[in-house]
Structures are given as C-alpha cells and as structure tokens.
C-alpha cells in the first residue's frame, strides 16, 4: 500500500519531467540484482552469534560496558591463571551529518520538511534537470556559521564548494555539492560530560577537525522486502535531495562507546540550543558515522579503521562501538588480524551486532573539483561578529551557570539536557523561585508529568505558567502551604488552574482552604484539644513511650485537615508534651 503510493509518486515526478517512459517498472528490475550482486550482504548469523558471545564474555571480564576505558583480551578472560594480558584501547572518530533546519533546501526553493508525501517537495533544480543551476540559500550559511562558532571553530571567510562525484540512483546530478579542501569551519572542540563507571562524571574536550556544508541525497524505498536485500524493486523519493547538511568531523579523540554517545548527545544539544537543527536521529536529521580501530595501549600508530553506520540512537551507537571493540580485540588476540579490514559495517539493531556492508578497496576516487556553478563563498568579519553576538547560551555555558547556582552535578545535567527544560527552569527562576527547590520541582513531579502525558515544555508553559510554579514554590518556602500540599495542588496548576502566578496561586490555595496554619495560638489550641482527647496516650508518653509522638502529630494533622505547619506543630507539641499540664 505504502509502496504502491510511492510508486505513483515516482511516476508523477517523472511525468513532471516530461518523461514518457515507464520509470517504475524498469526501476523495479534494475535494483533487484544490486542486492543479488552482494553489494549489501549481511554477515551470516553464525558470525553474529559468535561475536555476541564474545561481547558478553569480554564485558563481564573487563568491564567494557560502561567506562570501557580498559579492554583486555577476551580469550584470556575465562582462564583462571593471569596470563600476560595485552591492554587495548580503541581510537574513535565520528562524522556527524546534521540536517540544518532551514525552511527551504540548500540550493533551490523547495520546502525541506520531513515526512511530506514522497516526491512532493521537488523541482527541476533538486532533480538535476538539464540546465538547472544551484543557488545557495543564505540561511544555510547562517546556520553553518552559528554551529561553527558554537564548536569554537575558525570560520573561513573565504570558502568554496566542490563536486563529489559518484553514481547512485538517489543522487540526482551524479555529484554531491560539498566542500572539499576549504571547508566553512576549521578546528574547534566540544566539551563532553561522560558518566563514569561509578556515579560520577568526567569532562573531556573532543577536538573538531572541520565542519562543512553539503547537500543531502534522496531516499531509496525498497519494495517487496524490508531492506535492499530481497527486495523486488526500489523507488526513489527525492524530497530529501538537496536538504542542507553540516558534516562535522571529530578528531580521533574518543576512546569508548560511552564517550562517543556523550559526544553525540552534546553535539545534538548544541545544535538544538542554537536552533539550527532538530537533531532527530530517528528521522535522520542527525546521523553519525563512526570510525573505529583498536591498538595496544601505548602504541602511537592507529590500527586498521572500520566505519560503522546505521545507528539511530546514541545508545545504539554506544552498543555498536562496544560490540566492535570486542570484535576487533578478539580478532587480534585470536591471531585473526585478517578479520579486521578497512570496510563499512552496519549496525543491526535487532541482532545487536555489526555486519559488513562493503569492503573498501583503497580510497574511493570521488574526482573532487571546484563547483563552477557557485562563486566562492565570501563572508565578512562583521557578518561573523554579528552572528557571534546573536549566539544563544550554549549547553556548556548553561551547565557552568547552573553549577554556579549551587545545584548538584546531577541536577545540572538533567536540567541542561534539553533547551526547553532549561528555558522553563530559567523562567521559574526569573519569577523569583530559589534554585534548589525549583530544580527539584522541575526535575521531579513536573518532568514526570510531561513524560507521562507526552507534553512538550512549551506546551507545558502554556498550561502552567513558570511564574505559577514559582509562586507555589514561594508559598511553600514562606510556609503558606506545606510541600505535601504543594504536591496536592500541582495537578490543578498543571491543568491550568493556577493562572499566571503573582497572586493567582495564593488565591487558588486560599479558595480551596489549603493555607497552612502557622499561627502558634491556633496550633496550640488544636494541640491542646488533641492531648485532652487522648489522655491515655499522653500518660503513656509521659511514662516513657516517646514513640507516641508520631501518633500526636498524625492526630493534629488530621484535626487540621493537613493544614498544620509541620515545623511549628512539632515545636508546640514538644513543648506541651515536655511540660506537665498546668
């Protein structure tokens, strides 16, 4: 059904191009044997199981899973005698493709939205029709420069575009417009907070080699099977063709899967904070390719590099790296060096393993040359400065600021993970709430509620104004209500009954008769009443059964319908209990 409708779209796209020929049918024939030629062949299930077993063995023996800082050979892991272990480390670099969230594509005015009907956002330019020319979208440059500045990279005031040439059905022009030897951004670094094996974290700086602009390709949809192999035919959806990408290349500074996952998460956070990309891995608006090799610790030379693709979450990336480290170490240890070759492997989420997609025979020759259809990209220092001045707060800066408020490392990480959460939290602070209780409320009941009902933080703000939450917190802080009552009132606030704050929450609390009783005289009267009504227990208390204090607190609370100020209540109660009755 889906394939059928896509097939219709391809035909439509062809008819727009004025092609009389039956595109779809021939197309169907031609890709079938692409699969058959073994261009994409999965590893046998046997290989996969063996490797998985090794993961388990190595993980248990060497503690690979989380910190993975040290990986010892798995072959010796089952042995009881401590043979001379070679200590391996992994060397990992990541190429991140970030789709820039511009309204239109990089070189034409088609919409670049995700999820549109196949081949509905296309034009002669992004289909590579004869005679068409690319014209650079200024917003692509703006977002690219913002990202470069956020990565502390040098913005090249004069960069250029090049053609990367290869044939593939999803590449309309037979070349991709990219930046080869003079990228937009050079050098840079990103700060990564990595959870370590304990409860703590460590902070690392990962170098950024470069970041350059390029265009995305279209998408192949394989018919008759879930993937290319076994499919009867393939269709092309060109909606994605020409969508702008920023390719960010890291230095080979990463050592573990956890670091890589933290790097990816921080990269996404930065792009989201900047508003240059939504960083949605599931929709492909952020894609990470991992380059990984292992070497005996202390050796300077790199081992043979393997590329891993097809991970659609950071968690998957971490697991793929951990799998691959074990696979490579195991091969080297077992004297099977030939199993580690320069190749591209794909992560199979279902089977939790990587498998070989294609072997690289030497370097692919992309015959790069300068794109003659686009003039050099020249920026002025003033333009860059203007963008620098317009930069929003970055995750790293936010973390520093929140730490400065006295919040714990854990609180800071939770609050700074998402720009919307941080913005909400900041709004609560701005409305006068103290940091720690504000953090507790935002990270606690409020976040739980958002997750439970799948509510975005901007939508949340529309229902429960940050100032309303701030007012409630201040009511707790000044003793007007107790924390417990706060929790009881929260659902009303989340339902939008708390108004805009600045008095509206107090009014709500008063209207519901939930204001805490803190007046000593009033409390004393209740306490006296309770003690009088429970003389037997009072006597028992005075005879040494001090555990009965809880009984009296409960009774007073019940009597006050939960409104008694607990602190004041305790003070008065203890006073009364200690003093002999007058």
């Amino acid at each position: 059904m889906t394939y059928y409708s896509m097939g219709m779209q391809v035909v439509r796209c062809c008819s727009r191009a004025g092609v009389p020929g039956p595109c779809t049918r021939q197309w169907a024939v031609q890709l079938r044997s692409l699969a058959a030629t073994g261009a994409c062949r999965r590893a046998s299930s046997g290989t996969c199981t063996a490797a998985l077993r090794n993961v388990a063995a190595a993980a248990s023996a060497a503690g690979v899973a989380t910190d993975g800082a040290s990986i010892s050979s798995s072959s010796s892991s089952t042995s009881t005698q401590p043979a001379a272990k070679v200590d391996y480390e992994a060397v990992i670099g990541i190429e991140t493709h970030v789709q820039l969230s511009t309204k239109t594509k990089a070189f034409c005015s088609c919409a670049s939205e995700f999820g549109a009907e196949p081949n509905s956002n296309i034009c002669p330019v992004c289909l590579g029709h004869p005679g068409t020319l690319p014209v650079l979208n200024a917003d692509v440059v703006r977002k690219g420069v913002l990202a470069g500045l956020a990565l502390d990279a040098t913005i090249c005031l004069s960069s250029k575009f090049d053609r990367k040439q290869y044939f593939y059905p999803d590449l309309p022009k037979g070349y991709q417009i990219s930046q080869y030897d003079v990228p937009l951004c050079e050098g840079g670094w990103v700060e990564v907070v990595v959870p370590d094996s304990g409860a703590g974290t460590s902070v690392r700086r990962i170098g950024i080699t470069r970041a350059h602009l390029e265009e995305d390709a279209g998408k192949l949809v394989h018919g008759g099977a879930a993937s290319l192999s076994g499919s009867d035919y393939s269709l092309v959806d060109f909606n994605r063709a020409g969508v702008p990408l920023l390719e960010i290349v890291s230095e080979p500074d990463l050592r573990t899967g956890a670091e890589a996952a933290a790097y990816g998460a921080e990269m996404r956070r930065i792009m989201r904070f900047l508003g240059v990309s939504d960083g949605n891995m599931a929709e492909g608006s952020m894609r990470c390719d991992v380059n990984i090799s292992v070497r005996p610790r202390g050796r300077a030379a790199f081992g043979t590099k393997v590329e891993i693709k097809n991970m659609n979450s950071f968690n998957a990336m971490q697991r793929a790296i951990e799998f691959e480290i074990v696979r490579q170490v195991d091969a080297l240890e077992g004297g099977r060096e030939g199993e580690v070759v320069q190749e591209t492997r794909l992560w199979d989420e279902g089977r939790q393993c990587t498998y070989s997609m294609r072997k690289k025979e030497g370097l692919a020759d992309y015959r790069y040359f300068p794109e003659p259809d686009l003039p050099e990209l020249t920026l002025t220092e003033a333009y860059v400065q203007e963008l620098r001045a317009s930069m929003p707060e970055l995750p790293r800066q936010l973390r520093e600021r929140l730490l400065g408020l006295g919040l714990s490392q854990y609180d800071v990480l939770v609050l700074s993970d998402d720009a919307e959460v941080a913005a909400y939290f900041d709004a609560v602070l701005a409305a006068g709430a103290p940091a720690k209780p504000a953090a507790n409320w935002v990270m606690g009941d409020v976040m739980a509620h958002c997750k439970e009902v799948r509510l975005g933080w901007e939508q949340l703000a529309a229902r429960m104004a940050p100032a309303a939450l701030a007012e409630m917190i201040s009511l707790i802080e000044d003793g007007t209500i107790s924390g417990k009552i706060g929790k009881d009132v929260l659902p009303a606030l989340l339902a939008g009954e708390g108004g805009a704050g600045g008095g509206s929450v107090r009014a709500l609390v008063e209207a519901r008769g939930l204001v805490q009783i803190s007046d000593p005289a009033a409390l004393a009267a209740i306490v006296d009443g309770v003690l009088a009504a429970n003389s037997k227990q009072l006597q028992a208390y005075r005879e040494g059964k001090t555990k009965l204090q809880g009984f009296f607190v409960g009774a007073v609370m019940k009597e006050s319908k939960g409104r008694a100020n607990p602190k004041e209540l305790n003070r008065i109660l203890m006073q009364r209990l200690a003093a002999p009755p007058s």
């Binding site: 796209c13 727009r16 004025g18 031609q30 029709h129 004869p130 015959r367 040359f369």
Partner: protein
C-alpha cells in the same frame, strides 16, 4: 549633419580595397531610408509596432521560408508552427489593445536546442534526451518571450555542444546555406545556418569555446559571445559551466545588439551571473549617415599575430600553419579598412590554451546526470550498473565525440592526475586571463579570425578530431578569460563563381565592454560594404517574403 560625401567615400574604399566582397548598396540605402538601424530585426519590429504588418503575418512568412529551406539545410530539431502562431496571435491581440508588447514584438526567433523551452522538446542534440520536455524556460528564452519575440523552434547542434561542425548531432547534420556540401560550423551551427538562410530573424546560440563565433563565421552572420556572466546560464544544458555563455546570432550587429539587450542581465537563478546593470546596446549604434569620416579615430586595436600567420614566432603556438590564405587575406583587408576609419592597429601575442582540460573535466561532471533515472532515455538492463552503462552508452555518445570527451575529462580529474591536468590548466587559465586583460588595458579591442578556415566540407574533418580541436584555437582563450567578442563577416574566400564562402572577423573586447565592442563592430559593418547575400535558392524565397 554629416557631409554628403560620407557614403560616397566609403563606397570608394570598398571598391579600392577588395574584389571579393559582395556589395549591395541598395540594402544600405534601404536602412538609411528607414532612418533606423540596419537589420531585418529592426525593420520587422518597427513594422509590427507601426501595425504595418502583423506578428502573425511575419511568423507565417518565416515559417514558410523555414520549411522550404529545411529540406536542404536541416537546421531544426523541433519546430512547433501552431505554438509559434499562437504566440504571434497573442502579440497581435495585445498590440490591438494598445499594449506595449516589448522591444522584440513579433520577431521570429530560433533557439539552440541546449536552451530549455517549456513545453518544447530540448535534447541538446543528444539521443539521450530524446523526449525530454522541460518544465521551464531558460532565462534567456523567457526574456525573449517577455520582450514579444516568437520562438519558432529549436536548432540543431553538436551533441551537448561537443563539436565544431554540427556533424556530431545525435539526430542529423546541418548544411551550410552558402554551399550545402559544406558544414555550417558548430556547435551552434543550426542557429547560424538558420539565420543565414533567413529561416528566422535571429537566433540564440551558446559559446563554450567558439560555438557562436565559428559557425557565425562559417555562415556569414553576426555572432556575439558576451562576457561570462552577462547572460544567465539558467536553463542552458551545461557543457563546461565555467566557460558556457549564451549569446545572439543575427544578420546585423544592430540586430544582435537588440537581442543581447533583452537577454542580458542579472538572474537570481544563476549565482555566476553578474549584477552589473545592462546597457541598451543599440543606443550607441549610429546609422551610417550619422558617422564621421574617421569614426574610429584614436581607437587602438591589436591583431593577434599568431592567429594570422604573420608573427615571427607564430610557429610556437602551432597556429601559423593552420590559418588558410583566404582567411589571412580577408582579415588583412579588414585591418586596412579599420585603419582607414582612423584606428591604429598594432600586433599582439597570445598563448596556446589549456581549454580542453578544463572544458572536458567540467563536461564529464555535468554529463553525469544523464543516468537514465529521472528523465530522458533509460537503457534496458537487469542490474543497476548495467542500466547506467546501457543508458549512457545508447543515450550519450551515439557520436564518439561525447564518449571521448567524457573519458578525457574523467581522466583529468582522477586521483593522481588532478594536479598535473586540471589544477595546472587552471593556473594557465589565470595567466591567459591576466595577459588578455593586460593587452586590453593597452588596446580597445583585439582582433583575429574566428576560425582558421572557411566552412570545410562535410565529412572532411569528422575523422580527424585533432584538426577539429585545432580549429577551436582561435576562439577558446577568450572563453578561458571570460571576455566578450563579436564575430562578423569581413570578406570572402574563394572567388570561383558560386562557391565563395564567408570569412568572419573576431573582435575581442574588455569584460562587460559589449557596448563599445558592438559600436566598433557596427561601424565596421556599416562602412566595410561586406554584404552577405546568399548565392543560392534561399535568396529568392527570402526576398519574396520581404516584399
């Protein structure tokens, strides 16, 4: 007012100077009588604007001539009579309502087949694009239409512009209207021949390494290769993107200037198109009787010596031996005439080009899109690689030119060869550009033949690609430097009755100096008396139409 002897003195000069120039003073008098600029375009549009004739009548007459000459010449790959007449009728109805239809109201124009025309098949002369009907108009075409021009059809060309004779079309050869045993030149041979045979009033061509100028020279018409970036490339099927230019081919300098004025100018769809404002290129062109006796006084021109076989070191560039005597003689005559008009003519030097490395590298990339996936012809195959191979083999390079050039370009860009070829070629290109600009700092224009020979015989060079490449050496450096040039008839070669063939002179100007260049060419054209009247049957039908 100018002294009444002006015309007389030019006539004398003409008689003095040469015997192989065909003068037809009557024509000149006609343009003087009209008081407007010389050329059928100006005559036609004035008539249409004055309602002396209708766009429909004009279009009908040209379509009749087009079809009558077509059997012998094969200039067109697609003609849509009905569509052309509909356009003409629309213009007539707008004129009837008193609307300003534009500077080319009712002018029938042909378009080279590598310029996209919405709704009209565009193949760039390639079988691979058979059946491709663009969804949009090239910017130059859209501007012509907006100016009131009527597009008659698409003209033949060497496949993707690769060739210099129109014999490398994937569909048919075109023949030279001066002598149908000869080629019209290329790659814009269809456009040049159609203009010469009066199948249209003017035509659009494109010039990557001489593809407007050489066929204009072979067919005795005026061709203008504008400065790179003067006319938008949007909608031009790319051959070599950094060299490609769209330009007019017409029967007079003034006509070409009128078309250029319409098509030139910045375009948001082409990032390499210049933002410089466009002048009215006809504004500076004076009718003959308004010219002084020495209209080129204080003009400094330079003859590129290597291109004329006159330089001492000419052998170095390998050009000397390929320029034929008839061309040299015609050019020498032109130089003398320019001197008589007051210009100083010196000699300058040029260097051999690295044109082909750049052109073919870019071409190999530009032609990658013809993969059979999205448009054009798809070869039958059961597997992806075979589908590519089959589509590209049967679609491109049904003429070996294309396949050969793709291979050479691919090679030049390959790892390990890039520095030696492409990069080095770009360095030499920078030198060529610098030297030509330096020369143009000293001179108002450079001149040389547009081709080393006159139109050669069909089949004469098709098996000898190297000699065809050599033929391009007169024109390619200009494309590397991005400079403008006008090619206009300066005489004839071969005096035996009936087989004289036109010789074209190339005037090279400063970047964006089209206005000055056209002024110079116009003065030469108006005073030289070189009148190109076709010797064959085409005269009769053409003049019949004009009456």
């Amino acid at each position: 007012m100018n002294p009444p002897h002006t015309l007389q003195s030019y006539t004398e000069m003409r008689v003095l100077r040469t015997t192989n120039i065909r003068a037809k003073p009557a024509d000149m008098r006609l343009s003087l009588v009209c008081g407007s600029l010389h050329g059928p375009l100006h005559a036609a549009r004035d008539q249409v604007a004055r309602r002396g004739t209708s766009a429909t009548e004009l279009t009908t007459a040209y379509l009749r001539q087009l079809h009558s000459a077509e059997t012998q010449l094969q200039c067109f790959l697609a003609v849509d009579d009905e569509y052309a007449l509909r356009q003409a009728a629309l213009i007539d109805s707008r004129l009837a309502q008193g609307e300003d239809v534009g500077p080319l109201a009712g002018v029938p124009i042909a378009v080279k087949d590598n310029l996209c025309t919405q709704g009209l098949q565009t193949t760039a002369g390639s079988r691979g694009l058979h059946g491709f009907v663009p969804t949009y108009d090239a910017t130059a075409v859209a501007r012509l239409r907006a100016a009131g021009a009527v597009v008659l059809g698409k003209t033949n060309m060497d496949e993707f512009g690769m060739g210099s004779s129109c014999e490398n079309s994937g569909y048919q050869p075109t023949f030279n209207p001066w002598d149908t045993k000869h080629v019209p030149g290329g790659s814009s041979g269809g456009s040049a021949a159609a203009v010469a045979a009066k199948q249209c009033i003017a035509a659009l061509g494109s010039d990557t390494g001489g593809s407007i100028r050489q066929p204009a020279s072979f067919c005795g018409v005026v061709g203008v290769k504008p400065t790179y970036g003067r006319v938008s490339r949007n909608g031009l099927v790319a051959y070599a993107s950094s060299l490609d230019c769209v330009g007019p081919i017409a029967q007079s300098v003034a006509d070409a200037a009128a078309v250029l004025t319409v098509i030139a100018g910045s375009d948001l769809a082409d990032a390499t198109c210049s933002q410089k404002p466009v002048e009215d290129y006809t504004a500076g062109l004076l009718p003959l009787d308004n010219l002084s006796s020495k209209p080129l006084a204080f003009k400094r021109l330079a003859l590129i010596q290597e291109a004329c076989g006159e330089g001492v070191d000419a052998g170095k560039s390998g050009l000397r031996h390929i320029v034929v005597a008839g061309v040299t003689a015609a050019l020498a005559g032109a130089v003398r005439h320019l001197q008589e008009l007051g210009a100083e003519v010196e000699q300058a030097s040029d260097r051999p080009a690295t044109y082909y490395v750049i052109a073919l590298s870019e071409a190999s990339s530009n032609l990658s899109r013809y993969d059979g996936v999205r448009f054009g012809q798809r070869g039958a195959a059961d597997e992806l690689k075979n589908m590519y191979a089959s589509s590209r083999h049967s679609g491109l390079g049904s003429e070996v030119q294309v396949a050969r050039r793709i291979l050479m370009g691919t090679y030049a860009l390959s790892a390990g060869y890039y520095d030696a070829y492409y990069k080095r070629a770009q360095q030499v290109r920078t030198l060529v550009r610098r030297e030509m600009n330096m020369a143009l700092g000293r001179f108002d224009a450079l001149l040389c033949p547009a081709a080393p020979t006159t139109a050669y015989r069909v089949g004469e060079k098709s098996c000898d690609p190297l000699s065809m490449y050599k033929g391009d050496l007169m024109t390619v450096n200009l494309n590397l430097a991005g400079l403008p040039a006008v090619c206009l008839p300066c005489g004839f070669s071969g005096q035996a009755a009936g087989n004289a063939l036109p010789v074209g002179m190339q005037l090279i100007g400063r970047a964006f100096g089209e206005a000055d260049l056209l002024k110079l060419a116009h003065i030469y054209e108006q005073t030289s008396g070189v009148v190109t009247i076709l010797p064959s049957v085409f005269i009769e039908s053409a003049s019949a139409k004009h009456d």
